[in-house]
C-alpha cells in the first residue's frame, strides 16, 4: 500500500469546525511560543558563547516587570483558551431535546448498537446526516470508550450507569469507530465504522435494518421478552397483590414505600428491573426477583422500550409516523443502496470477528480488503 500522509481527520460533525478552530489556534500558539523560546535560546547561545566579544556589562538577575509580563500574558491567554474550551465542552455535553436516541452497549470486545425501532448492528453505527443523534451508552463489563475521531466525539462507557454523547453528522461517509479505553485482549479490534447516510438513504437503511428481513422493533422484542420472562404474571393490566400494573408507567410519578415520589424515567425503570429492592413501590414487598446479572443490558433496553409504550396511545418512536411509513415503503421495494450493502457486508464481518483469533484475522484476506476500503473511505 502506498504511504499517504493524512494531516487531519475528516470533519464530519457539527462540532468539528469549532473544535478544529480551537485546535489550530492552540497549534499557532504552540508554534509561536516554541519559536520565541527556541529563537531566544539559540540566539543567546551564539551571541553569548564563551569568548565572544558581546557586551556583558550590567547583567540583570531579577526584574519584576519582566516576571510579571511573562506571568500575566500566559495567564490571560490560558484563561481565554480555558473559556473557549469549556464552552465548547458544555455544548458537547448538552444534547438537544429533539435528538434521536440510539442505544450503545459496550462489551469485551464489541459494540452493540440498537436503534429505537429495533434495528441492531455490531461494530457499526449508521446515523443520518443533519439530524442530532444522542447515544445512550452503558457497558456490560469493563470501562470502554466510544470514540469517533471524524466527529470529534468521545465518551467513556461505564458499567453501572448510563453515559451519553451526541453529535450531528454533517457529511455522508464512512468513518472510524474506536474503543479508546483499554479493555483487554482485543481492545484494538473493538472498533468498526460509523456510516453517515443522507436522510433519504438513512430512512431506506433503517427501514430495512440493513438486512433483507424487517426486524422487530425494540418495543416488539421487548414485548416478546416481557412475556418470556413471565413479567405479565405479576404486572398485569391492573394492580394486583403480586405487583403493580405497569400501564402508563413511563414518566409517571410513583409513590415509594418510604413515602418519596419518584419519576419513572429510563433510569428508574432500569433500576426497578435489575434491583427492584432498592426502591419499592408503596404497598409492595421484596417479591420480585432481582434481574441483576440475569439479563443483559440489551434486554433491559428492550424491556424499557416496551414499558415506555405500555398503554400509550402512540408508538412513541423517534422516527415520525410519516417518515417511518415512507421508509417502510421504500424498503419494501427491495432496492438497497450500495452503502447499505456495504454495511451489511461489514456487519457480517463484524459478527464473525469476535470469535476469530487475531492470527485468523490476519490471514483473512477480506479483512485487509475491508480495512483498506475503510482506510480510503476514512479520508
Amino acid at each position: 500500500m502506498p504511504f499517504n500522509f493524512p494531516l487531519q481527520p475528516p470533519r464530519a460533525s457539527s462540532f468539528a469546525d469549532q473544535h478544529d478552530a480551537l485546535f489550530y489556534t492552540l497549534c499557532i500558539l504552540t508554534v509561536l511560543f516554541t519559536a520565541i523560546v527556541g529563537f531566544g535560546v539559540i540566539f543567546f547561545a551564539i551571541k553569548y558563547k564563551k569568548g565572544s566579544p558581546a557586551d556583558r556589562s550590567r547583567p540583570i538577575y531579577e526584574d519584576l516587570r519582566l516576571e510579571l509580563t511573562w506571568t500575566i500574558i500566559p495567564l490571560i491567554m490560558g484563561l481565554g483558551i480555558f473559556y473557549w474550551g469549556a464552552s465548547l465542552f458544555v455544548t458537547m455535553r448538552v444534547p438537544p431535546k429533539d435528538a434521536q436516541e440510539i442505544y450503545v452497549i459496550g462489551k469485551q470486545w464489541m459494540w452493540h448498537v440498537q436503534h429505537s425501532n429495533g434495528v441492531r448492528e455490531n461494530n457499526t453505527l449508521h446515523v443520518p446526516v443533519g439530524k442530532p443523534v444522542k447515544l445512550t451508552m452503558i457497558s456490560q463489563d469493563v470501562i470502554h470508550a466510544f470514540y469517533i475521531p471524524a466527529f470529534r466525539a468521545q465518551m467513556h462507557v461505564v458499567p453501572g450507569r448510563y453515559t451519553t454523547m451526541w453529535f450531528t453528522a454533517t457529511q455522508a461517509g464512512k468513518y472510524h469507530l474506536f474503543c479508546s479505553m483499554y479493555c483487554g485482549t482485543q481492545h484494538s479490534e473493538m472498533g468498526g465504522t460509523v456510516v453517515a447516510l443522507e436522510p433519504k438513504e438513512w430512512a431506506e437503511w433503517i427501514a430495512n435494518g440493513g438486512q433483507s428481513t424487517v426486524p422487530m422493533t425494540l418495543e416488539q422484542s421487548g414485548q416478546k421478552l416481557y412475556n418470556s420472562l413471565a413479567c405479565n404474571n405479576c404486572h398485569g393490566v391492573k394492580d394486583t397483590v403480586k405487583g403493580p400494573s405497569l400501564m402508563n408507567i413511563y414518566n409517571s410519578r410513583r409513590r415509594m414505600s418510604n413515602g418519596e415520589t419518584v419519576l419513572a424515567d429510563d433510569a428508574y425503570l432500569r433500576e426497578s428491573i435489575l434491583r427492584p429492592h432498592n426502591r419499592l413501590t408503596a404497598g409492595y414487598g421484596q417479591e420480585m426477583p432481582e434481574y441483576q446479572g440475569q439479563i443483559t443490558e440489551e434486554d433491559v433496553i428492550k424491556l424499557v422500550a416496551f414499558m415506555k409504550n405500555l398503554g400509550m396511545p402512540t408508538t412513541g418512536l423517534p422516527v415520525s409516523g410519516t417518515d417511518r411509513e415512507a421508509a417502510v415503503t421504500a424498503g419494501s421495494k427491495g432496492s438497497m443502496s450500495p452503502l447499505a450493502t456495504n454495511a451489511i457486508q461489514y456487519q457480517q464481518f463484524s459478527e464473525r470477528q469476535p470469535d476469530a483469533t487475531a492470527t485468523d484475522r490476519k490471514k483473512d484476506l477480506s479483512v485487509n480488503a475491508i480495512a483498506a476500503q475503510q482506510g480510503g473511505a476514512g479520508n
Binding site: 434491583r275 429492592h277 432498592n278 441483576q292
Partner: protein
C-alpha cells in the same frame, strides 16, 4: 563559599550519630521525621475514610441496617482499651523524660496488655462475622437474617470497607505491638539508646497515638451510625 573548621562534639554523646552536629539537631530531626511519617499515614487512611464517606452518603439506609450487626459494646470496650493504652504511652513518655525506668516499663507493659486485649476482642468480632457469612465473597449474606434487611450488595460494600479499614488498623496495632515490645526490651536491658534520651520512647508514643487516633474516627463511623430519619 568556604569550608571553615569548627568543632563539633562527635564523641561527647554516645547516642549522637555522625551526620548530626549536636543532640538537639538529632532529636529535632527524629521528631520532625516521625511527624512527616504520620502525615503520610494520615493520607493513607484518609483515602479510605473518603471512600467510606462517599459510599455511606450513597447507601445510607442499607449501611445503617448493615451496621446494626456490629456489636457496639465490644466496639466501645475496644475504644476504652485503646484510650487507656494511649494514656499509658503518654505516661511512659513522661516517665522516660523523668528517667524513671520502672514506671516506664510498667506503663509500656500495660500498653502491650491493652493492645492484646484489643486484638483479641477484634478477633472475636471477626470470627462472628465470618460465621455469619458477612465477609465479602460468593457466600456473603447467605444468612439473610444477619443483613437486617439491608440490600446484600450494598451491605457487602459496607463489610468490604469494614474489613479493609479495621483490618489495616489491626495491622498497625500489630506493628505497634512489635515496636513497643522492642522498646520495652531495650528498657529492661537498660540500653543506652533509650535510657539516655527519651526520644525513642517519644517516637514510639507518637506512632501509638496515631493508631489510637484512627480508631477514634473508626469507632463512631463503623459502630455508631445514626438512624436515617
Amino acid at each position: 563559599m568556604a569550608a571553615i573548621a569548627h568543632d563539633h562534639a562527635h564523641d561527647d554523646h554516645g547516642a549522637l550519630h555522625h551526620q548530626f552536629e549536636n543532640i538537639e539537631q538529632q532529636n529535632d530531626s527524629y521528631i520532625v521525621g516521625m511527624w512527616t511519617f504520620l502525615v503520610t499515614e494520615v493520607m493513607f487512611f484518609g483515602a479510605l475514610f473518603f471512600i467510606y464517606t462517599l459510599y455511606r452518603s450513597m447507601y445510607q439506609m442499607d449501611w445503617y441496617l448493615a451496621h446494626e450487626e456490629l456489636d457496639v459494646t465490644l466496639g466501645g470496650i475496644n475504644t476504652v482499651v485503646l484510650l487507656i493504652s494511649s494514656w499509658t504511652v503518654a505516661m511512659a513518655v513522661r516517665f522516660a523524660q523523668l528517667k524513671n525506668r520502672k514506671m516506664v516499663i510498667l506503663n509500656l507493659l500495660v500498653t502491650l496488655g491493652c493492645a492484646f486485649t484489643f486484638l483479641v476482642i477484634k478477633a472475636f468480632e471477626y470470627a462472628a462475622k465470618f460465621e455469619h457469612h458477612l465477609f465479602p465473597g460468593p457466600t456473603f449474606g447467605s444468612v439473610p437474617s444477619h443483613l437486617n434487611g439491608a440490600n446484600s450488595n450494598y451491605a457487602q460494600l459496607f463489610y468490604g470497607l469494614y474489613f479493609g479499614m479495621t483490618g489495616l488498623h489491626a495491622v498497625h496495632i500489630l506493628v505497634g505491638v512489635l515496636v513497643i515490645s522492642a522498646l520495652t526490651y531495650l528498657w529492661v536491658r537498660k540500653a543506652d539508646s533509650v535510657m539516655k534520651d527519651y526520644i525513642p520512647t517519644e517516637l514510639v508514643g507518637l506512632y501509638w497515638h496515631f493508631v489510637d487516633l484512627v480508631w477514634i474516627f473508626l469507632f463512631p463511623l463503623m459502630y455508631l451510625m445514626p438512624k436515617p430519619h
